[in-house]
């Protein structure tokens, strides 16, 4: 599996309240959630994002509320991967469970710039910044999580195994 797109860059501690503000949590409609994605941090995101684009952020991405609406909004907006130095733990497991690709890579998080064109090979964990020509290697997922991702998410994994 591969991804390729332009980079939207954000800082540390991007919380789920700015990813999808609670005033929109009176719905679980994916398209509607996506139409407000990142609204309180970057009101232009929704207008600018196109399929395949990549979010690069700093530490503790997705901290705060457990709302799965946050990774759902990001995935539905077309983002192909979120790269961060670290992820908040509930956001991390929600992303794995719903099949939003995420990668922890402090070096890539520190160096990749807004607007760079980046490609990712998920089978190797290699992140290639085509704008600068630099390559980074993300930590691979442990085998259990890889099986979960390969099954297509938690629902499929459980259906097959329990």
């Amino acid at each position: 599996m591969k991804a390729e797109g332009r980079v939207f860059r954000y800082g540390d501690n991007v919380d789920t309240d700015v990813i999808i503000p609670a005033r929109y949590l009176n719905t679980s409609d994916r398209k509607e959630l996506a139409s407000h994605c990142m609204e309180d941090l970057d009101s232009t995101f929704v207008k600018r994002v196109s399929a395949g684009d990549i979010i690069v952020a700093g530490r503790n991405f997705g901290c705060g509320s457990s709302r799965e609406h946050a990774p759902i909004a990001i995935k539905e907006s077309g983002v192909s991967c979120v790269i961060a130095s670290t992820f908040a733990r509930i956001f991390f497991r929600n992303s794995i469970n719903i099949g939003l690709p995420i990668l922890e890579c402090p070096e890539a998080s520190a160096e990749i710039a807004e607007g760079d064109k980046v490609s990712i090979d998920f089978s190797t964990g290699v992140i290639h910044d085509e704008t600068t020509g630099k390559e980074y290697k993300a930590e691979p997922f442990p085998p259990f999580m890889q099986r979960l991702i390969e099954a297509g998410g938690l629902a499929e994994y459980i259906k097959e195994n329990f």
Partner: protein, 423 residues
Amino acid sequence: MAMTMTEKILAHAAGLPEVHPGQLIMADLDMVLGNDITSPVAIKEFPRFGKDKVFDRTKIALVPDHFTPNKDIKAAEQCACVRAFASKEGITNYFEVGRVGIEHALLPEQGLVTAGDTVIGADSHTCTYGALGAFSTGVGSTDMAAGMAIGKAWFKVPSTIRFRLSGKFRPHVSGKDLILTIIGMIGVDGALYRAMEFSGDGVHSLTMDDRFTVANMAIEAGAKNGIFPVDDLTLQYLKEHGAAEPKIFASDPDAEFEKTIDIDLSQIVPTVSYPHLPENTHSAKDGKDIRIDQVVIGSCTNGRLSDLEAAARILKGRKIAPGVRCIIIPATQRIWLEAMHEGLFDIFVEAGCVVSTPTCGPCLGGYMGILAEGERCVSTTNRNFVGRMGHVRSEIYLASPEVAAASAVMGYIADPEEVGYEG
């Protein structure tokens, strides 16, 4: 192998003789929780798990507390979805308006969690039940759906940071000041993926409500869970609330902790987290220049009876400062009734506060106290992120009920020491 309390509970839940940090396990669940925001997503996902019905209709709690009483048509439809599912599946712990309260105050009060339990909830503050000596953690809706389907969840066993408490609080200091101080010390990701275990002699001086508040905000340091040892006070609480027989697990003396941080409770002062992160802590006494527009006293963090009593001690015989709105939200119906019987509502209303039905409402910017552009709120809630309670250019200052009440009286961030009690 020596294990921590968290490791022992997880080993028990996974049916393993021992577990170690980093290990991935499948654990049996004693309770699966959801609210009116997260449950509809889980309910929609549920059919994908291929099970005809839920794993155990007595081990699921559906608590529509966030946008209830229904704040708008969409919220009403989400609640209708939860109500229909509860009815179809025969969920015994579904709480309708009139019985519902804020989930993390309600479940312990109803005796639905006991020591040694393993609990997941599709709400980040599910870590609250660690106060009862349970392993309890927040997850998303898909995990909740999986939990409802098979009664299990996957976990990576966390390593543990130990907070060794000694001494006791000075007057006007509470569990909220302790947890804000700790978050200020270690940062909002200072315990990322870790367990936070609170131990030491100082623990015994903390009331159960203090412990709930401290465990509740473990997530604000990034932790997977916060946990307290089980002592006489815990056992008494569990008994009084009709909880199941406790399963007592204690950390071995030679258990491995990633780090130990010693804290003298007598050194903790009234503390306020300034915008826009809970780690941005300051002494309440340094807040005189910060004029405020609103105060909220309530939430899963600080909406319990002792919180309301603490606020009432400050507010008794006083008036809310001109230009300030003070909203008080008892966390459950039982707390509401007890507060009324104690005469706290007379104190609040005479001071100029408004008292609401139980709801999470304003904490997450839902309703019942939304902030306009440029407004500042001192709140006993748990998050002060950008836009959390309203406009993206509004500000939230997190504090204890005493600091919040003192600030409501003064019109700026105030140390309760400065205000004192009026007789």
